[in-house]
């Protein structure tokens, strides 16, 4: 339909031009316009948050709203660490939990995946099917009994429930991702090493693991993001502000954004930005690995 009128337009040109030639610049311009609109859609809220974190309190609540603060209050980022809420402590707690979670996941998921990919034993395939099926079950089902377990162990209001479980195989997704990667490595490597007298752990550690660096990077990034952003776990297990992670801490701050009657919304925004920046930076530097991991799980899944 649109093609007809466009063909007429082309007659104005001296040389005969195919309708596609004319369409292309228009389509391109439209595509760029759409992408520009999307950039505003995704970029503006981020820009607004960054700007808000540099405002004073009157600027935060100015009406009509102010987009860019008159003088950026860089000191907000320092002040937020020195208010009555232990904001700095939340970041330390989160970093510790993320490190312990990631190491546990990487080490134990690789070992389990090695077992699934390279060994033959009774029940292996059933075990693998069970592993995959755990991905289907909502966390809520296991959450309550796990809470009871950790309560009985006296682990409530400690960080243990948040990272210890990750040292038991790291979860179905991690095992699945690692197994898929092990399957792509040639078995000749293992067999040659076995003939040379290497033990199974030696093969795993000295031969296969160095080859797994890309997928380990992928898994590390995915684990770090998930663990850093986790909210439900810390919400259930942690009660005192000194124990909070960044996520629960932010929620706590957001619920009461004032200390001694003094409004602190600008500092809340600074804390928000601080919670986003490490993850975004990591994504920038590890983008290649991250994208690969998602694609692998997406295609094989």
């Amino acid at each position: 339909m649109a093609q007809g009128s466009l063909t007429q337009d082309t007659q104005l040109h001296r040389a005969p031009v195919s309708p596609q030639r004319v369409m292309q610049p228009i389509v391109r311009a439209l595509t760029y316009a759409t992408i520009f609109a999307l950039c505003v859609l995704f970029g503006f809220p981020l820009f607004w948050t960054a700007m808000s974190s540099l405002k004073t309190i009157p600027e935060m609540f100015a009406f009509p709203p102010i987009l860019v603060p008159a003088a950026p209050q860089w000191a907000n980022y320092w002040t937020v660490l020195n208010i009555d809420y232990p904001v700095g402590r939340w970041f330390v707690n989160s970093v510790l939990i993320v490190i312990l979670t990631s190491f546990g996941t990487l080490i134990t998921a690789s070992l389990v995946a090695y077992s699934f990919a390279r060994f033959e034993y009774r029940g292996r395939d059933i075990l693998f099917m069970i592993t995959l099926s755990t991905m289907m079950l909502p966390a809520q089902v296991t959450l309550i009994p796990q809470f009871v377990l950790f309560y009985k162990l006296g682990w409530v209001n400690t960080h243990l429930p948040l990272w210890v479980p990750h040292w038991f195989g790291g979860g179905a997704f991690a095992i699945f991702l690692m197994r898929q990667f092990f399957l792509t490595l040639p078995r000749d490597l293992d067999e040659a090493a076995l003939i040379d007298g290497a033990g199974y752990f030696r093969i795993f550690w000295s031969i296969l693991m160095p080859l797994c660096k890309p997928v380990l990077a992928t898994l590390a990034i995915i684990t770090i993001i998930a663990s850093w952003s986790d909210f439900l776990g810390p919400l259930i297990y942690l009660n005192t502000p000194e124990k909070f992670t960044v996520s629960v801490g932010l929620q706590f701050f957001n619920a009461v954004p004032e200390v001694g009657g003094e409004p602190m919304q600008h500092l809340l925004m600074a804390a928000c930005v601080m919670s986003m920046v490490p993850i975004i930076l990591m994504f920038f530097f590890g983008q290649r690995f991250f994208v690969q991991g998602i694609v692998m799980s997406g295609i094989k899944g």
């Binding site: 369409m23 389509v27 760029y32 759409t34 992408i35 999307l38 995704f42 809220p45 607004w48 808000s52 609540f61 009406f63 009509p64 709203p65 070992l111 389990v112 090695y114 077992s115 699934f116 390279r118 060994f119 033959e120 034993y121 009774r122 075990l127 755990t134 289907m136 079950l137 909502p138 966390a139 809520q140 089902v141 296991t142 309550i144 009994p145 809470f147 009871v148 309560y151 479980p165 038991f168 195989g169 199974y200 850093w228 952003s229 909210f231 259930i236 960044v246 932010l250 929620q251 957001n254 809340l268 925004m269 928000c272 919670s275 986003m276 993850i279 998602i294 997406g298 295609i299 899944g301």
Partner: protein
């Protein structure tokens, strides 16, 4: 060391009949037996994890569902009363379940459809694709709590920039967004769509698009197909497995919606965003009705399994697998 230990019992197998251990692990030779034993050793952390953090809790949760239990003391068996209460005595049960479905019904088409549109846009060889892809992805990286906090400020009815923009284009009475009973559910949906659209779903679509063979597009061009025809008759059919995968994931994600609603609205105003996962959380961890909470968790699990089953069952009608 440990190698010798596991090797020793396998020695018996050389004498013709297999040792008990070999039979147990499903092996034929001493070498296979040893290898099988090591297989179990390396899988041990996960086998333990499955028992401690999955199997045990699943059984316990199923049992708790038929009891009254408040952490302190022991569970008291009450038969089906939790389920009866859920279906007929809890005035928040059906509304919260219905609200979760409403959320899913709005979230899934926008999140998956939006991701598909973004992926198709980025899949054209345009200048700056990597930069755009990164920017679109950033919202997905924001921790859910920070996401809810920053949108609370963006959508503030009076001093928020969104309503200021709406007023500037002539809408004198913009919505109250998260603060209003009528628009809170739509606002929470919008926030989740915003964060999900450019995320993993889009990346999976991009990978899927790259897997569509160029010959099919060439063939469509020869047949005189325009851009829309190519999308409708080549891209979409070839992408159906990817769409299916993304929809299944989106359904699972949507039915578990929790953090954004909890942080931005605490389920309000007047229960407008009281989703099913929030209901479970409040029953179990605010009122410490662990028995009732477990029963609710099983209802959620049943709903999820039902929807996944339906999707797998009916996927054959519309999902097209190459060579399948």
């Amino acid at each position: 060391m440990a190698v010798a230990e596991s090797g020793a019992p396998a020695q018996g197998a050389t004498n013709g009949n297999l040792s008990l251990l070999s039979r147990l692990v499903g092996a034929q030779t001493p070498f296979q037996t040893k290898r099988a034993v090591w297989g179990y050793v390396y899988a041990a952390p996960w086998i333990l994890g499955l028992i401690i953090f999955w199997g045990g809790p699943i059984l316990a949760s199923f049992y708790f569902g038929f009891t009254e239990y408040a952490v302190i003391g022991s569970p008291r068996f009450t038969g089906l009363s939790n389920y009866i209460r859920a279906f007929s005595g809890d005035e928040l049960f059906w509304p919260s379940l219905g609200r979760t479905f409403t959320f899913a019904g709005m979230y899934i088409p926008f999140a998956v459809g939006g991701a598909l549109i973004l992926a198709v846009l980025l899949n054209q060889k345009l200048f700056g694709t990597t930069v755009f892809r990164t920017l679109f992805f950033v919202p997905h990286l924001i921790p859910a709590v920070a996401l809810a906090v920053l949108w609370t400020f963006l959508l503030a009815p009076r001093v928020g920039p969104v309503n200021e923009f709406l007023r500037s284009i002539g809408i004198s009475d913009p919505p109250g967004w998260l603060a209003s009973r009528d628009s809170a559910l739509a606002s929470v949906t919008m926030i989740n769509v915003w964060a999900a659209m450019g995320g993993n779903t889009m990346l999976i679509f991009l990978a899927g698009l790259q897997g569509v063979p160029q010959e099919l597009y060439d063939a469509a061009s020869i047949d005189g197909g325009g851009a829309w025809a190519k999308f409708r008759h080549v891209t979409l059919p070839m992408l159906t497995p990817t769409i299916f995968f993304n929809v299944v994931l989106a359904v699972i994600g949507a039915l578990k919606v929790f953090t954004t609603a909890w942080v931005a609205t605490q389920g309000g105003p007047s229960y407008a965003t009281w989703f099913f996962a929030l209901h479970i959380y409040f029953q179990a961890f605010q009122y410490f009705r662990l028995g009732y909470g477990s029963a609710l968790a099983w209802v959620l699990a049943a709903v999820l399994m039902f929807f996944t089953w339906v999707q797998v069952r009916y996927s054959r009608r519309w999902v097209h697998y190459e060579g399948g």
